[in-house]
Protein backbone atom coordinates (compact mmCIF):
# COMPACT_ATOMS: atom_id res chain seq x y z
CA UNK A 1 0.00 0.00 0.00
CA UNK A 2 2.41 2.64 1.15
CA UNK A 3 5.31 3.72 -0.96
CA UNK A 4 8.79 3.80 0.37
CA UNK A 5 8.94 7.32 1.73
CA UNK A 6 5.81 7.20 3.87
CA UNK A 7 6.18 6.49 7.55
CA UNK A 8 2.57 7.04 8.50
CA UNK A 9 -0.54 7.04 6.41
CA UNK A 10 -3.97 7.58 7.93
CA UNK A 11 -7.04 6.81 5.87
CA UNK A 12 -10.54 7.95 6.79
CA UNK A 13 -10.01 7.72 10.52
CA UNK A 14 -13.07 8.25 12.70
CA UNK A 15 -12.95 8.11 16.47
CA UNK A 16 -16.13 8.38 18.51
CA UNK A 17 -16.89 8.58 22.20
CA UNK A 18 -20.10 7.25 23.73
CA UNK A 19 -21.35 9.66 26.34
CA UNK A 20 -24.53 9.90 28.36
CA UNK A 21 -25.66 12.71 26.12
CA UNK A 22 -25.05 10.88 22.86
CA UNK A 23 -22.16 9.98 20.59
CA UNK A 24 -19.40 12.60 20.47
CA UNK A 25 -17.81 12.37 17.05
CA UNK A 26 -14.39 13.67 18.01
CA UNK A 27 -12.59 12.73 14.78
CA UNK A 28 -14.34 12.12 11.47
CA UNK A 29 -12.93 10.96 8.21
CA UNK A 30 -9.40 12.24 8.75
CA UNK A 31 -6.71 11.28 6.24
CA UNK A 32 -3.11 12.37 5.98
CA UNK A 33 0.38 11.06 5.36
CA UNK A 34 3.79 11.81 6.81
CA UNK A 35 6.94 11.20 4.85
CA UNK A 36 10.25 10.12 6.26
CA UNK A 37 12.17 12.93 7.93
CA UNK A 38 9.35 15.44 7.45
CA UNK A 39 7.19 17.36 9.88
CA UNK A 40 3.43 17.53 9.54
CA UNK A 41 1.68 20.07 11.74
CA UNK A 42 -1.86 19.40 12.88
CA UNK A 43 -3.36 22.76 13.79
CA UNK A 44 -6.65 23.58 15.42
CA UNK A 45 -8.39 25.01 18.43
CA UNK A 46 -9.37 23.16 21.57
CA UNK A 47 -11.87 20.39 20.98
CA UNK A 48 -11.22 20.08 17.26
CA UNK A 49 -9.92 16.51 17.60
CA UNK A 50 -6.20 16.93 17.09
CA UNK A 51 -5.16 15.21 20.31
CA UNK A 52 -7.70 12.42 19.79
CA UNK A 53 -6.14 11.82 16.36
CA UNK A 54 -2.73 11.47 18.03
CA UNK A 55 -4.04 9.13 20.70
CA UNK A 56 -5.75 7.04 18.01
CA UNK A 57 -2.41 6.57 16.26
CA UNK A 58 -0.87 5.40 19.53
CA UNK A 59 -3.96 3.23 20.16
CA UNK A 60 -4.32 4.98 23.51
CA UNK A 61 -8.01 5.87 23.23
CA UNK A 62 -9.69 4.70 26.45
CA UNK A 63 -12.19 2.03 25.39
CA UNK A 64 -14.99 2.35 26.45
CA UNK A 65 -16.15 5.14 26.18
CA UNK A 66 -13.98 5.78 23.14
CA UNK A 67 -13.73 3.63 20.03
CA UNK A 68 -12.05 3.87 16.67
CA UNK A 69 -15.14 3.69 14.51
CA UNK A 70 -13.55 3.22 11.12
CA UNK A 71 -10.47 3.91 9.06
CA UNK A 72 -6.96 2.59 8.68
CA UNK A 73 -3.69 3.69 10.19
CA UNK A 74 -0.64 2.42 8.32
CA UNK A 75 2.72 2.50 10.00
CA UNK A 76 5.01 1.75 7.03
CA UNK A 77 3.02 -1.11 5.46
CA UNK A 78 1.20 -2.41 8.55
CA UNK A 79 -2.29 -1.38 9.50
CA UNK A 80 -1.73 -0.96 13.21
CA UNK A 81 -5.44 -0.92 13.94
CA UNK A 82 -5.36 -4.66 13.24
CA UNK A 83 -2.47 -5.27 15.61
CA UNK A 84 -2.95 -7.18 18.84
CA UNK A 85 -2.18 -5.36 22.06
CA UNK A 86 1.06 -7.35 22.28
CA UNK A 87 2.15 -6.35 18.78
CA UNK A 88 1.17 -2.79 19.54
CA UNK A 89 3.49 -2.73 22.54
CA UNK A 90 6.36 -3.32 20.14
CA UNK A 91 5.37 -0.20 18.22
CA UNK A 92 4.30 2.14 20.96
CA UNK A 93 7.24 3.94 22.53
CA UNK A 94 9.58 2.05 20.24
CA UNK A 95 8.75 2.92 16.63
CA UNK A 96 6.24 5.65 17.41
CA UNK A 97 6.94 7.75 20.48
CA UNK A 98 4.99 10.61 21.95
CA UNK A 99 5.69 13.66 24.03
CA UNK A 100 2.89 15.37 25.88
CA UNK A 101 1.92 18.93 26.57
CA UNK A 102 2.33 18.97 30.32
CA UNK A 103 5.92 18.23 31.32
CA UNK A 104 4.86 18.84 34.91
CA UNK A 105 2.44 15.93 35.07
CA UNK A 106 3.80 13.44 32.57
CA UNK A 107 6.81 12.38 34.63
CA UNK A 108 6.34 10.10 37.61
CA UNK A 109 7.29 12.09 40.73
CA UNK A 110 8.38 9.07 42.79
CA UNK A 111 11.01 7.70 40.39
CA UNK A 112 14.32 9.28 39.46
CA UNK A 113 14.83 10.69 35.98
CA UNK A 114 17.31 7.90 35.24
CA UNK A 115 14.93 5.11 36.29
CA UNK A 116 12.20 6.45 34.06
CA UNK A 117 14.35 6.58 30.94
CA UNK A 118 15.91 3.20 31.73
CA UNK A 119 12.41 1.72 31.97
CA UNK A 120 11.61 2.89 28.45
CA UNK A 121 14.86 1.41 27.11
CA UNK A 122 14.74 -1.99 28.85
CA UNK A 123 11.10 -2.43 27.82
CA UNK A 124 12.01 -2.46 24.15
CA UNK A 125 15.64 -3.47 23.95
CA UNK A 126 17.63 -6.35 25.37
CA UNK A 127 19.93 -4.38 27.61
CA UNK A 128 21.17 -4.84 31.14
CA UNK A 129 20.35 -2.18 33.67
CA UNK A 130 23.91 -0.83 33.55
CA UNK A 131 23.92 -0.62 29.75
CA UNK A 132 20.54 1.09 29.74
CA UNK A 133 21.70 3.49 32.42
CA UNK A 134 24.66 4.66 30.37
CA UNK A 135 22.43 4.89 27.27
CA UNK A 136 19.97 7.03 29.23
CA UNK A 137 22.80 9.28 30.30
CA UNK A 138 23.85 9.70 26.67
CA UNK A 139 20.28 10.65 25.83
CA UNK A 140 20.22 13.35 28.49
CA UNK A 141 23.45 14.66 27.07
CA UNK A 142 21.92 14.62 23.61
CA UNK A 143 18.98 16.80 24.70
CA UNK A 144 21.58 19.12 26.28
CA UNK A 145 20.83 18.70 29.91
CA UNK A 146 23.88 20.02 31.75
CA UNK A 147 25.63 17.54 34.08
CA UNK A 148 23.58 14.47 33.01
CA UNK A 149 25.33 12.11 35.43
CA UNK A 150 24.00 14.06 38.40
CA UNK A 151 20.54 14.62 36.88
CA UNK A 152 20.07 10.89 36.35
CA UNK A 153 19.60 10.25 40.06
CA UNK A 154 17.44 13.30 40.69
CA UNK A 155 13.67 13.44 40.95
CA UNK A 156 11.46 15.39 38.52
CA UNK A 157 10.49 18.10 41.02
CA UNK A 158 14.07 19.39 41.01
CA UNK A 159 13.84 20.27 37.33
CA UNK A 160 12.26 23.31 35.69
CA UNK A 161 9.52 22.99 33.07
CA UNK A 162 11.91 23.26 30.14
CA UNK A 163 14.25 20.66 31.66
CA UNK A 164 11.38 18.25 32.26
CA UNK A 165 10.31 18.61 28.64
CA UNK A 166 13.90 17.77 27.65
CA UNK A 167 13.71 14.65 29.80
CA UNK A 168 10.45 13.71 28.08
CA UNK A 169 12.11 14.14 24.71
CA UNK A 170 15.12 12.09 25.85
CA UNK A 171 12.76 9.33 26.91
CA UNK A 172 10.81 9.50 23.66
CA UNK A 173 13.89 9.28 21.43
CA UNK A 174 15.72 6.69 23.55
CA UNK A 175 14.51 3.87 21.27
CA UNK A 176 15.19 5.83 18.08
CA UNK A 177 11.57 6.02 16.92
CA UNK A 178 10.88 6.72 13.27
CA UNK A 179 7.87 8.85 14.18
CA UNK A 180 7.64 11.28 17.05
CA UNK A 181 4.22 12.64 17.98
CA UNK A 182 4.63 15.94 19.79
CA UNK A 183 1.32 17.02 21.31
CA UNK A 184 1.61 20.73 22.09
CA UNK A 185 5.21 20.24 23.24
CA UNK A 186 5.86 23.89 24.05
CA UNK A 187 2.47 25.28 25.04
CA UNK A 188 3.23 25.20 28.77
CA UNK A 189 6.66 26.80 28.32
CA UNK A 190 7.96 30.36 28.14
CA UNK A 191 8.86 31.76 24.72
CA UNK A 192 12.61 31.58 25.19
CA UNK A 193 12.39 27.98 26.38
CA UNK A 194 9.97 27.20 23.56
CA UNK A 195 12.56 28.36 21.05
CA UNK A 196 15.20 26.11 22.62
CA UNK A 197 12.94 23.04 22.62
CA UNK A 198 11.90 23.61 19.00
CA UNK A 199 15.55 23.98 17.98
CA UNK A 200 16.34 20.77 19.79
CA UNK A 201 13.55 18.88 18.01
CA UNK A 202 14.83 20.26 14.72
CA UNK A 203 18.36 19.01 15.34
CA UNK A 204 17.22 15.59 16.49
CA UNK A 205 15.01 15.27 13.46
CA UNK A 206 17.95 15.90 11.20
CA UNK A 207 20.44 13.68 13.03
CA UNK A 208 18.02 10.74 13.44
CA UNK A 209 16.06 11.29 10.22
CA UNK A 210 12.87 11.14 12.25
CA UNK A 211 9.36 12.15 11.16
CA UNK A 212 7.40 14.44 13.45
CA UNK A 213 3.67 14.90 13.87
CA UNK A 214 3.52 18.29 15.53
CA UNK A 215 0.23 19.11 17.18
CA UNK A 216 -0.21 22.75 18.08
CA UNK A 217 -2.58 25.68 18.09
CA UNK A 218 0.21 28.22 17.55
CA UNK A 219 0.48 29.25 13.92
CA UNK A 220 3.83 30.88 14.64
CA UNK A 221 5.28 27.51 15.66
CA UNK A 222 3.75 25.94 12.56
CA UNK A 223 5.30 28.51 10.25
CA UNK A 224 8.73 28.01 11.77
CA UNK A 225 8.83 24.23 11.93
CA UNK A 226 6.41 22.40 9.65
CA UNK A 227 6.80 21.07 6.12
CA UNK A 228 3.11 20.30 5.66
CA UNK A 229 0.06 21.47 7.54
CA UNK A 230 -3.39 20.06 8.16
CA UNK A 231 -5.89 22.47 9.70
CA UNK A 232 -8.59 20.76 11.74
CA UNK A 233 -11.94 22.25 12.63
CA UNK A 234 -14.73 20.49 14.49
CA UNK A 235 -13.45 16.90 14.00
CA UNK A 236 -12.52 17.21 10.31
CA UNK A 237 -9.64 18.46 8.24
CA UNK A 238 -10.63 21.80 6.72
CA UNK A 239 -7.49 22.40 4.71
CA UNK A 240 -4.29 20.52 3.96
CA UNK A 241 -1.24 21.68 2.00
CA UNK A 242 2.40 22.58 2.30
CA UNK A 243 3.35 25.06 4.99
CA UNK A 244 4.47 27.73 2.52
CA UNK A 245 1.28 27.44 0.53
CA UNK A 246 -0.91 27.69 3.63
CA UNK A 247 0.52 31.02 4.69
CA UNK A 248 0.70 32.37 1.16
CA UNK A 249 -2.60 31.18 -0.18
CA UNK A 250 -5.04 30.02 2.50
CA UNK A 251 -8.28 28.87 0.86
CA UNK A 252 -10.60 27.82 3.64
CA UNK A 253 -12.35 30.74 5.37
CA UNK A 254 -11.43 29.25 8.75
CA UNK A 255 -7.72 29.24 7.94
CA UNK A 256 -8.01 32.75 6.58
CA UNK A 257 -9.81 33.87 9.73
CA UNK A 258 -7.19 32.30 11.98
CA UNK A 259 -4.32 33.93 10.13
CA UNK A 260 -6.00 37.33 10.13
CA UNK A 261 -6.92 37.24 13.79
CA UNK A 262 -3.33 36.97 15.01
CA UNK A 263 -1.92 40.16 16.50
CA UNK A 264 1.02 41.01 14.27
CA UNK A 265 4.19 42.18 15.82
CA UNK A 266 5.37 45.64 14.84
CA UNK A 267 2.25 46.78 12.97
CA UNK A 268 0.34 48.75 15.65
CA UNK A 269 -3.09 47.54 14.55
CA UNK A 270 -6.07 49.51 15.82
CA UNK A 271 -8.32 46.48 15.95
CA UNK A 272 -7.88 42.79 15.43
CA UNK A 273 -9.85 40.84 12.88
CA UNK A 274 -11.95 38.21 14.53
CA UNK A 275 -13.85 35.05 13.77
CA UNK A 276 -17.35 35.55 15.13
CA UNK A 277 -18.97 33.04 17.45
CA UNK A 278 -17.53 30.19 19.48
CA UNK A 279 -15.78 26.89 18.83
CA UNK A 280 -18.56 24.26 18.55
CA UNK A 281 -18.59 21.29 20.91
CA UNK A 282 -18.46 17.70 19.61
CA UNK A 283 -21.95 16.88 20.90
CA UNK A 284 -23.43 19.92 19.26
CA UNK A 285 -21.93 20.31 15.81
CA UNK A 286 -23.93 22.48 13.42
CA UNK A 287 -25.54 20.96 10.33
CA UNK A 288 -23.99 21.22 6.88
CA UNK A 289 -20.51 22.69 6.80
CA UNK A 290 -19.47 22.77 10.47
CA UNK A 291 -17.93 26.19 10.05
CA UNK A 292 -20.97 27.85 8.46
CA UNK A 293 -22.19 29.43 11.72
CA UNK A 294 -18.97 31.44 11.99
CA UNK A 295 -18.17 31.84 8.31
CA UNK A 296 -18.52 35.20 6.53
CA UNK A 297 -19.64 33.44 3.33
CA UNK A 298 -21.46 30.42 4.69
CA UNK A 299 -23.68 32.02 7.32
CA UNK A 300 -26.30 33.01 4.75
CA UNK A 301 -25.75 30.30 2.20
CA UNK A 302 -28.32 27.54 1.83
CA UNK A 303 -25.88 24.92 0.59
CA UNK A 304 -23.33 25.58 3.37
CA UNK A 305 -26.11 25.27 5.94
CA UNK A 306 -27.38 21.93 4.68
CA UNK A 307 -24.65 20.07 2.80
CA UNK A 308 -21.20 19.31 4.13
CA UNK A 309 -18.33 19.80 1.67
CA UNK A 310 -15.79 16.98 1.44
CA UNK A 311 -12.04 17.55 1.47
CA UNK A 312 -11.02 17.77 -2.18
CA UNK A 313 -7.89 18.67 -4.07
CA UNK A 314 -8.41 22.21 -5.37
CA UNK A 315 -4.97 22.73 -6.84
CA UNK A 316 -1.86 20.58 -6.86
CA UNK A 317 -1.30 19.15 -3.36
CA UNK A 318 -3.68 21.67 -1.87
CA UNK A 319 -6.83 20.24 -0.32
CA UNK A 320 -9.76 22.22 1.05
CA UNK A 321 -13.24 21.44 2.30
CA UNK A 322 -15.22 24.50 1.28
CA UNK A 323 -17.88 24.96 -1.37
CA UNK A 324 -16.46 28.36 -2.17
CA UNK A 325 -12.74 27.56 -2.31
CA UNK A 326 -11.43 28.52 -5.76
CA UNK A 327 -11.07 25.34 -7.82
CA UNK A 328 -13.46 23.30 -5.66
CA UNK A 329 -15.53 20.97 -7.82
CA UNK A 330 -19.10 20.92 -6.65
Amino acid sequence: MTENGKILSIQNLSTFFDTELGVAKAVQDVSFEIEKGKTLALVGESGCGKSVTALSIMRLIPTPPGRIESGKIFYREHNILEFSEKQMRGIRGNKIAMIFQEPMTSLNPVYTIGDQIVEAITLHQKKTYEQAWSMAQEMLDKVRIPDPARRMSEYPHLLSGGMRQRVMIAMAISCKPSLLIADEPTTALDVTIQAQILDLLDELQQSENMSILLITHDLGVVAQRADDVAVMYASKIAEKCSCKELFKNPLHPYTQGLLHSLPQLGTRQKRLNTIAGNVPEPLNFPSGCKFHTRCPIGCNDKRCQTAEPELKEVSKDHFAACWYAPGYEK
Binding site: P146, V191, Q196, L198, D199, H217, A223, P263, V279
Partner: protein, 319 residues
Protein backbone atom coordinates in the same frame (compact mmCIF):
# COMPACT_ATOMS: atom_id res chain seq x y z
CA UNK B 1 1.96 64.90 42.03
CA UNK B 2 0.88 64.96 38.43
CA UNK B 3 -2.91 64.87 38.25
CA UNK B 4 -2.90 62.78 35.14
CA UNK B 5 -1.32 59.80 36.89
CA UNK B 6 -3.78 57.23 38.23
CA UNK B 7 -1.36 54.72 39.66
CA UNK B 8 2.16 55.37 40.81
CA UNK B 9 4.30 52.59 42.16
CA UNK B 10 7.49 53.49 44.00
CA UNK B 11 10.19 51.02 44.99
CA UNK B 12 7.65 48.26 45.55
CA UNK B 13 9.06 45.13 47.18
CA UNK B 14 7.36 41.83 47.86
CA UNK B 15 9.59 39.28 49.51
CA UNK B 16 8.54 35.85 50.70
CA UNK B 17 10.44 34.34 53.62
CA UNK B 18 12.14 30.95 53.22
CA UNK B 19 11.76 29.03 56.47
CA UNK B 20 13.72 26.03 57.58
CA UNK B 21 14.02 23.67 60.50
CA UNK B 22 11.84 22.86 63.47
CA UNK B 23 11.52 26.45 64.59
CA UNK B 24 10.76 27.65 61.05
CA UNK B 25 13.67 30.02 61.24
CA UNK B 26 13.82 32.47 58.35
CA UNK B 27 16.95 31.70 56.40
CA UNK B 28 16.43 34.00 53.44
CA UNK B 29 13.91 35.58 51.11
CA UNK B 30 12.53 34.95 47.66
CA UNK B 31 12.53 38.41 46.18
CA UNK B 32 9.49 37.98 43.93
CA UNK B 33 9.18 41.71 43.38
CA UNK B 34 12.31 43.64 44.12
CA UNK B 35 12.23 47.41 44.01
CA UNK B 36 10.08 48.25 41.01
CA UNK B 37 8.73 51.69 40.13
CA UNK B 38 6.40 52.81 37.37
CA UNK B 39 3.38 55.00 36.79
CA UNK B 40 0.20 54.63 34.76
CA UNK B 41 -1.60 57.69 33.34
CA UNK B 42 -5.42 57.85 33.34
CA UNK B 43 -7.06 56.00 30.48
CA UNK B 44 -3.95 54.25 29.24
CA UNK B 45 -2.82 50.65 29.18
CA UNK B 46 0.35 49.59 30.91
CA UNK B 47 1.66 46.22 29.77
CA UNK B 48 3.75 44.10 32.10
CA UNK B 49 5.64 41.32 30.33
CA UNK B 50 7.89 38.60 31.60
CA UNK B 51 8.41 34.86 31.77
CA UNK B 52 6.93 32.66 34.46
CA UNK B 53 8.54 33.43 37.78
CA UNK B 54 9.46 36.98 36.84
CA UNK B 55 7.12 38.42 39.45
CA UNK B 56 4.53 40.10 37.26
CA UNK B 57 1.50 38.51 38.91
CA UNK B 58 2.93 39.06 42.39
CA UNK B 59 3.43 42.72 41.53
CA UNK B 60 -0.19 43.06 40.39
CA UNK B 61 -1.56 41.26 43.42
CA UNK B 62 0.51 43.43 45.73
CA UNK B 63 -0.87 46.54 44.06
CA UNK B 64 -4.42 45.21 44.55
CA UNK B 65 -3.50 44.60 48.21
CA UNK B 66 -4.07 40.86 47.94
CA UNK B 67 -0.49 40.15 49.01
CA UNK B 68 1.28 42.04 51.76
CA UNK B 69 4.03 44.31 50.45
CA UNK B 70 7.47 44.21 52.06
CA UNK B 71 8.25 47.80 51.22
CA UNK B 72 7.61 50.71 48.90
CA UNK B 73 4.62 52.87 48.08
CA UNK B 74 1.62 52.49 45.82
CA UNK B 75 -0.19 55.75 45.10
CA UNK B 76 -3.67 55.36 43.73
CA UNK B 77 -5.18 58.71 42.76
CA UNK B 78 -2.49 60.38 44.83
CA UNK B 79 -3.13 58.34 47.99
CA UNK B 80 -0.69 55.72 49.27
CA UNK B 81 -2.86 52.63 49.64
CA UNK B 82 -0.31 50.30 51.21
CA UNK B 83 -0.73 51.54 54.81
CA UNK B 84 -4.56 51.50 54.59
CA UNK B 85 -6.30 49.44 57.25
CA UNK B 86 -8.44 46.48 56.23
CA UNK B 87 -11.63 48.45 56.93
CA UNK B 88 -10.59 51.26 54.62
CA UNK B 89 -9.74 48.91 51.81
CA UNK B 90 -13.29 48.38 50.63
CA UNK B 91 -13.26 51.92 49.25
CA UNK B 92 -10.20 51.07 47.13
CA UNK B 93 -11.50 47.67 46.06
CA UNK B 94 -14.37 49.42 44.31
CA UNK B 95 -11.89 51.33 42.18
CA UNK B 96 -9.48 48.50 41.39
CA UNK B 97 -10.83 45.27 39.96
CA UNK B 98 -9.21 42.21 38.45
CA UNK B 99 -9.82 39.97 35.45
CA UNK B 100 -8.20 36.60 36.07
CA UNK B 101 -6.33 34.27 33.78
CA UNK B 102 -8.34 31.09 34.03
CA UNK B 103 -12.02 31.56 33.15
CA UNK B 104 -12.69 28.00 34.33
CA UNK B 105 -11.61 28.39 37.94
CA UNK B 106 -12.37 32.05 38.55
CA UNK B 107 -16.16 31.74 38.40
CA UNK B 108 -18.02 29.96 41.20
CA UNK B 109 -19.75 26.97 39.55
CA UNK B 110 -22.62 27.07 42.04
CA UNK B 111 -23.63 30.65 41.30
CA UNK B 112 -25.65 31.83 38.33
CA UNK B 113 -24.15 34.39 36.01
CA UNK B 114 -26.54 36.96 37.45
CA UNK B 115 -25.46 36.37 41.04
CA UNK B 116 -21.77 36.33 40.06
CA UNK B 117 -22.08 39.80 38.59
CA UNK B 118 -24.47 41.00 41.31
CA UNK B 119 -22.10 40.10 44.14
CA UNK B 120 -19.76 43.08 43.84
CA UNK B 121 -22.75 45.39 43.28
CA UNK B 122 -24.38 44.16 46.49
CA UNK B 123 -21.20 44.27 48.55
CA UNK B 124 -20.52 47.84 47.55
CA UNK B 125 -24.22 48.73 47.93
CA UNK B 126 -24.37 50.15 44.44
CA UNK B 127 -27.70 48.76 43.35
CA UNK B 128 -30.52 46.50 44.50
CA UNK B 129 -33.89 45.19 43.37
CA UNK B 130 -34.97 45.86 39.83
CA UNK B 131 -32.18 48.37 39.32
CA UNK B 132 -29.70 45.58 40.07
CA UNK B 133 -31.27 43.33 37.44
CA UNK B 134 -31.21 46.15 34.89
CA UNK B 135 -27.55 46.81 35.55
CA UNK B 136 -26.62 43.17 35.17
CA UNK B 137 -28.52 42.98 31.89
CA UNK B 138 -26.76 46.08 30.57
CA UNK B 139 -23.38 44.74 31.63
CA UNK B 140 -23.99 41.42 29.90
CA UNK B 141 -24.89 43.23 26.70
CA UNK B 142 -21.81 45.44 27.00
CA UNK B 143 -19.56 42.39 27.03
CA UNK B 144 -21.35 40.75 24.13
CA UNK B 145 -23.63 38.31 25.97
CA UNK B 146 -27.39 38.42 26.17
CA UNK B 147 -29.58 39.38 29.13
CA UNK B 148 -31.23 35.98 28.74
CA UNK B 149 -28.04 34.38 30.11
CA UNK B 150 -28.65 35.81 33.56
CA UNK B 151 -30.00 32.61 35.13
CA UNK B 152 -27.50 30.20 33.61
CA UNK B 153 -24.51 28.62 35.31
CA UNK B 154 -20.86 29.00 34.26
CA UNK B 155 -20.55 25.42 32.95
CA UNK B 156 -23.04 26.25 30.22
CA UNK B 157 -20.58 28.66 28.65
CA UNK B 158 -17.43 28.25 26.59
CA UNK B 159 -14.06 29.62 27.70
CA UNK B 160 -14.40 32.85 25.75
CA UNK B 161 -17.90 33.48 27.06
CA UNK B 162 -16.74 32.80 30.61
CA UNK B 163 -13.99 35.34 30.21
CA UNK B 164 -16.68 37.81 29.11
CA UNK B 165 -18.57 37.07 32.34
CA UNK B 166 -15.35 37.67 34.28
CA UNK B 167 -14.95 41.01 32.53
CA UNK B 168 -18.58 41.96 33.26
CA UNK B 169 -17.99 41.18 36.94
CA UNK B 170 -14.83 43.29 36.97
CA UNK B 171 -16.62 46.22 35.36
CA UNK B 172 -19.76 46.00 37.54
CA UNK B 173 -18.40 48.33 40.22
CA UNK B 174 -17.32 50.92 37.65
CA UNK B 175 -13.65 50.66 38.54
CA UNK B 176 -11.01 53.14 37.53
CA UNK B 177 -8.21 50.62 37.23
CA UNK B 178 -8.65 47.11 35.88
CA UNK B 179 -5.85 44.63 36.44
CA UNK B 180 -5.93 42.06 33.64
CA UNK B 181 -3.81 39.08 34.66
CA UNK B 182 -3.17 37.07 31.47
CA UNK B 183 -6.81 37.45 30.40
CA UNK B 184 -6.42 35.73 27.04
CA UNK B 185 -3.68 33.16 27.52
CA UNK B 186 -6.15 30.34 28.27
CA UNK B 187 -8.27 31.07 25.19
CA UNK B 188 -8.22 29.80 21.62
CA UNK B 189 -6.68 31.99 18.94
CA UNK B 190 -9.99 32.93 17.30
CA UNK B 191 -11.47 33.84 20.70
CA UNK B 192 -8.38 35.74 21.88
CA UNK B 193 -8.86 38.43 19.28
CA UNK B 194 -12.53 38.84 20.22
CA UNK B 195 -11.66 39.42 23.87
CA UNK B 196 -8.79 41.81 23.05
CA UNK B 197 -11.09 43.90 20.87
CA UNK B 198 -13.72 43.89 23.61
CA UNK B 199 -11.20 45.11 26.19
CA UNK B 200 -10.17 47.91 23.86
CA UNK B 201 -13.77 48.96 23.17
CA UNK B 202 -14.66 48.97 26.86
CA UNK B 203 -11.59 51.05 27.64
CA UNK B 204 -12.72 53.73 25.21
CA UNK B 205 -16.30 53.62 26.41
CA UNK B 206 -15.58 53.85 30.15
CA UNK B 207 -12.18 55.54 30.03
CA UNK B 208 -10.66 52.60 31.88
CA UNK B 209 -7.04 52.29 32.85
CA UNK B 210 -5.52 48.83 32.41
CA UNK B 211 -2.61 47.13 34.03
CA UNK B 212 -2.24 44.33 31.51
CA UNK B 213 -0.12 41.32 32.38
CA UNK B 214 0.87 38.82 29.72
CA UNK B 215 3.72 36.71 28.53
CA UNK B 216 2.71 36.98 24.88
CA UNK B 217 4.55 39.96 23.43
CA UNK B 218 2.38 40.36 20.35
CA UNK B 219 -0.75 40.56 22.52
CA UNK B 220 0.88 43.15 24.77
CA UNK B 221 2.01 45.21 21.82
CA UNK B 222 -1.52 45.31 20.45
CA UNK B 223 -3.17 46.52 23.64
CA UNK B 224 -0.55 48.59 25.47
CA UNK B 225 0.59 52.19 25.37
CA UNK B 226 3.57 51.65 27.64
CA UNK B 227 5.30 48.32 28.21
CA UNK B 228 7.53 47.22 31.08
CA UNK B 229 9.62 44.06 30.89
CA UNK B 230 10.23 42.20 34.15
CA UNK B 231 13.00 39.74 34.87
CA UNK B 232 13.52 38.01 38.22
CA UNK B 233 11.58 40.58 40.20
CA UNK B 234 13.04 43.66 38.57
CA UNK B 235 11.92 45.87 35.72
CA UNK B 236 14.68 45.78 33.14
CA UNK B 237 13.11 48.03 30.52
CA UNK B 238 10.17 50.46 30.23
CA UNK B 239 9.26 52.22 27.01
CA UNK B 240 6.30 53.27 24.89
CA UNK B 241 5.04 50.15 23.11
CA UNK B 242 6.08 51.21 19.60
CA UNK B 243 9.56 52.16 20.73
CA UNK B 244 10.11 48.97 22.71
CA UNK B 245 9.32 46.79 19.73
CA UNK B 246 11.25 48.89 17.24
CA UNK B 247 14.29 49.73 19.33
CA UNK B 248 14.63 47.32 22.24
CA UNK B 249 17.65 48.25 24.35
CA UNK B 250 17.96 45.57 27.01
CA UNK B 251 19.47 42.26 25.88
CA UNK B 252 16.66 40.39 27.64
CA UNK B 253 13.99 42.27 25.67
CA UNK B 254 15.90 41.50 22.49
CA UNK B 255 16.02 37.83 23.44
CA UNK B 256 12.28 37.76 24.14
CA UNK B 257 11.46 39.44 20.84
CA UNK B 258 13.70 37.14 18.87
CA UNK B 259 12.19 34.05 20.48
CA UNK B 260 8.64 34.69 19.24
CA UNK B 261 7.80 32.32 16.40
CA UNK B 262 6.38 34.57 13.68
CA UNK B 263 3.60 33.27 11.47
CA UNK B 264 5.78 33.56 8.40
CA UNK B 265 6.96 30.30 6.87
CA UNK B 266 10.65 30.91 6.92
CA UNK B 267 12.91 28.95 9.15
CA UNK B 268 15.04 31.11 11.31
CA UNK B 269 17.43 29.77 13.86
CA UNK B 270 16.54 31.35 17.12
CA UNK B 271 19.16 32.75 19.41
CA UNK B 272 21.38 30.21 21.07
CA UNK B 273 20.69 30.82 24.73
CA UNK B 274 21.25 27.58 26.53
CA UNK B 275 20.52 28.48 30.12
CA UNK B 276 17.12 29.09 31.63
CA UNK B 277 15.66 31.55 34.07
CA UNK B 278 17.26 30.84 37.43
CA UNK B 279 15.56 30.52 40.79
CA UNK B 280 18.04 32.71 42.56
CA UNK B 281 19.09 36.10 41.26
CA UNK B 282 22.85 36.54 40.84
CA UNK B 283 24.59 39.19 42.91
CA UNK B 284 24.83 41.71 40.07
CA UNK B 285 22.53 42.26 37.13
CA UNK B 286 19.72 39.65 37.37
CA UNK B 287 20.16 38.79 33.70
CA UNK B 288 23.96 38.44 33.81
CA UNK B 289 23.80 34.63 33.89
CA UNK B 290 22.11 34.42 30.49
CA UNK B 291 23.29 37.62 28.88
CA UNK B 292 25.50 37.36 25.79
CA UNK B 293 27.28 40.65 26.46
CA UNK B 294 27.70 40.53 30.24
CA UNK B 295 31.16 40.88 31.74
CA UNK B 296 32.62 40.62 35.23
CA UNK B 297 31.31 44.04 36.18
CA UNK B 298 27.72 43.05 35.30
CA UNK B 299 27.97 40.06 37.62
CA UNK B 300 28.94 42.26 40.58
CA UNK B 301 26.96 45.46 40.25
CA UNK B 302 23.21 45.90 39.82
CA UNK B 303 22.52 48.25 36.91
CA UNK B 304 20.06 51.06 37.73
CA UNK B 305 17.00 51.71 35.54
CA UNK B 306 18.14 54.75 33.57
CA UNK B 307 16.52 56.92 30.93
CA UNK B 308 18.44 56.08 27.76
CA UNK B 309 16.16 57.98 25.38
CA UNK B 310 13.14 60.21 26.16
CA UNK B 311 10.60 57.99 27.93
CA UNK B 312 12.70 54.89 27.34
CA UNK B 313 14.27 53.36 30.43
CA UNK B 314 16.59 50.37 30.58
CA UNK B 315 18.63 48.72 33.31
CA UNK B 316 21.80 47.70 31.53
CA UNK B 317 25.40 48.92 31.71
CA UNK B 318 26.03 48.03 28.10
CA UNK B 319 23.44 50.09 26.25
Amino acid sequence: MNNNILLKVENLKTWFPIKKGLLRKIIGHVKAVDDISFQIPHGSTFGLVGESGSGKTTAARTIARLIHATGGKVYFNGENILPLHQSELRRIRKDISIVFQDPYSSLNPRMTVGSIIAEPLRIHKIAKGSELIDRIATLLQKVGLSAAHINRYPHEFSGGQRQRIGIARALAVEPKLVICDEPVSALDVSIQSQILNLLKDLQEQFRLTYLFIAHDLSVVEFISDIVAVMYLGKIVEIAPAVELYEKPLHPYTKLLLSAIPLPVPERKKSTAFVSEIGQEAPAGCPFSGRCPIADGFCCREIPPLEEKAPGHFAACFKT
